[in-house]
């Protein structure tokens, strides 16, 4: 059974059919890309997957760590995260006025084994868990070269580091499925090259399954094993990068953008 199985996912916004019959099945460890012109419904798919929007129709099945299957439709965003689906946002949504370290610690929140009582009374569990959260957060920051920034207020980080911090924060929830919404937005060619390296590396290192939305054809074509193309909410093509590049429907949807970009 696949890790993620999306069946006929559709959503209407007051008569506008934003996404229609979206189907996708992902095996563990796969790296799949969704492309499509602006307004094609890509982020809307993410928002349905993470519980921000409730689909009008369709099912989303996720295989949990214990191999049981859950339907994510109707679940709250925080429950879905706790079940192992993490995301980043198209327009970075860090906790702006908190420090880098606090940003990452918040992602460890639901794994903390003490509650309000433990916090107020400062029980041994509090100290043990705080130490663990602190160490784990620092470890992740170190891996991504943000350790020396840990006490910085996150809105003061340069753009590239903010993107990286958002990724660290998502990884800190220890997901099985990672959703990246335009991770290369606003990056220069060198940063994009590094990003591609990093996406491949985190997939192996953290044993992730990754679904990503991207505008940069270079990233999608180089990183993803499989690509879906959305246009006006409809899946107009899917296949390996080679097939997508030569698909006439895709070329038409992009009005030649693909040829120029790829």
């Amino acid at each position: 059974m696949a890790l993620l199985d999306i069946k006929d996912l559709s959503i209407n916004f007051g008569g506008l059919r934003a996404v229609t019959d979206f189907n996708l099945s992902m095996q563990e460890g796969e790296l799949v890309g969704i492309i499509g012109p602006n307004g094609a419904g890509k982020t809307t798919v993410f928002n349905m997957l993470t519980g921000v929007y409730r689909p009008t129709k369709g099912e989303i099945f996720l295989k949990r760590r214990d191999d049981s299957i859950v339907n994510l439709v109707g679940k709250k965003p925080f429950t879905i995260t706790q079940m192992g689906v993490a995301r980043t946002f198209q327009n970075i949504r860090l906790f702006k006025d908190l420090t880098v370290l606090q940003n990452v610690k918040i992602a460890h929140h639901f794994s903390a084994k003490y509650g309000v009582g433990g916090a107020v009374l400062r029980t041994p569990a509090y100290f043990k868990e705080e130490q663990r959260i602190h160490d784990e957060a620092l470890k992740l920051l170190r891996i991504f070269g943000l350790e020396n920034r840990k006490d910085e207020i996150s809105k003061n980080l340069p753009y590239g580091e903010q993107r990286r911090l958002e990724l660290v924060r998502a990884l800190a929830t220890s997901p099985r499925l990672l959703l990246l919404d335009e991770p290369a937005a606003g990056m220069n060619p060198q940063e994009i090259k590094d990003l591609m390296e990093m996406i491949r590396w985190i997939r192996n290192e953290f044993q992730l399954t990754i679904l990503l939305i991207e505008h940069h054809m270079e990233v999608v074509m180089n990183v993803c094993e499989r690509i879906l193309v959305l246009d006006y909410g409809l899946t107009i093509a899917q296949g390996c990068p080679e097939e997508i590049k030569t698909n006439p429907k895709v070329i038409e949807a992009y009005l030649g953008e693909v040829v120029e970009d790829a």
Partner: protein, 329 residues
């Protein structure tokens, strides 16, 4: 900063304030009027710090804090006067009653996004007032007289310290960070696995609990409870304290609560001018420093000790970025 150091921070501030209070007691103990002001300062500290948990740390806009104070006040008074329940238990009953009311108001409003809490808390405070006025047994519009004067400086101060310790322990923990996350960005917080509604309710109910405690202390200090003691304008007083002290700063709330208690007392004869000045201060602070005077920063021992150094550094360009000596928690 090492963990031990950051854990020490709050106690150090507390000790500093304790010394200040003891000094003041020694100085003024012969004067009941000054004693009264010190008591009020401690009660207002409880109110401001607990409101800050809701508004400053969790980012919800409650403007009915006096209403919870009223619930705690009347329930505690009823416990002492009619049921002869021991003082501390009566205070606890008042605080718990306020917390339960907080739960009832909080659950329907806090699951919604947006500013419904502001209107709901305001409306709830009004309902409480109407209910109190209609209960003849507690004096109705005439007020509830003859409450035993059990509250003294020892209790107000102990409870103020207790409130500060509990709330600062809470905000410096994983559930507390969840509240901060909700304040910063509710959508992002949920995407980090934080149940936003749950933490909003927790913060709101905790805030209501301590407000109820403050109310119980107050009526056992003054020996009287009156519906006009818990009006909207009283809630505004607490709001001003956290705005001046900084939304999300516990030490700021403590300082501002004490400061504003004294100022309000001094301006008692000029009530309208005081409200005019307060409203202008409120608007001016929001327009120039929307996070409040101290922002989310805590006064720390190092910060206070380092003031001369900081002043020196201020003259040099390009140093510090203003964060030296004041640290986030």
């Amino acid at each position: 900063m090492t963990r031990t150091k950051s854990l020490l921070k709050v106690p150090v501030v507390m000790v500093a304030l304790a010394l200040l209070y003891l000094g003041l007691i020694a100085g003024f103990s012969h004067n009941p009027y000054y004693m009264q002001i010190l008591n009020m300062a401690a009660i207002n500290t409880i109110m401001a710090v607990s409101l800050n948990l809701i508004n400053g740390f969790t980012g919800q806009f409650s403007i009915g804090h006096a209403g919870f104070m009223g619930v705690g006040a009347y329930v505690a008074a009823v416990c002492s006067v009619f049921y002869k329940i021991p003082y501390l238990v009566a205070l606890l009953c008042g605080a718990l009653a306020a917390a339960v009311v907080g739960l009832v108001v909080g659950i329907p409003t806090l699951r919604l996004k947006g500013d419904y809490l502001a209107i709901a808390t305001l409306g709830f405070a009004e309902i409480i007032r109407v209910i109190i006025v209609n209960i003849q047994k507690v004096g109705g519009p005439r007020g509830f007289l003859g409450i035993p004067p059990y509250t003294n400086l020892l209790w107000t101060y102990l409870f103020a310290v207790g409130t500060v310790v509990v709330i600062s322990n809470f905000v410096n923990s994983s559930p507390g960070r969840a509240c901060l996350a909700v304040r910063e960005d509710e959508v992002a917080a949920e995407s980090m696995g934080v149940n936003a509604t749950k933490y909003k309710v927790i913060a709101f109910v905790m805030g209501a609990f301590f407000a109820g405690l403050g109310g119980g202390l107050l009526v056992h200090l003054l020996s009287i409870a009156h519906p006009t003691m818990f009006t909207f304008l009283k809630s505004v007083d607490f709001l001003i304290m956290i705005v001046v002290g900084g939304q999300g700063s516990i030490t700021g709330s403590v300082t501002a609560a004490s400061f504003i208690t004294v100022i309000s007392e001094a301006l008692r004869k000029f009530e309208v001018w005081r409200m005019l000045a307060y409203s202008l201060v409120l608007i001016m602070i929001m327009l120039t420093r929307p996070q409040g005077l101290l922002g989310g920063k805590e006064l720390t021992w190092e910060g206070i000790v380092n003031v001369p150094g900081r002043l020196r550094r201020f003259r040099l360009p390009k140093v510090g970025g203003g964060r030296v000596g004041t640290t986030g928690h």
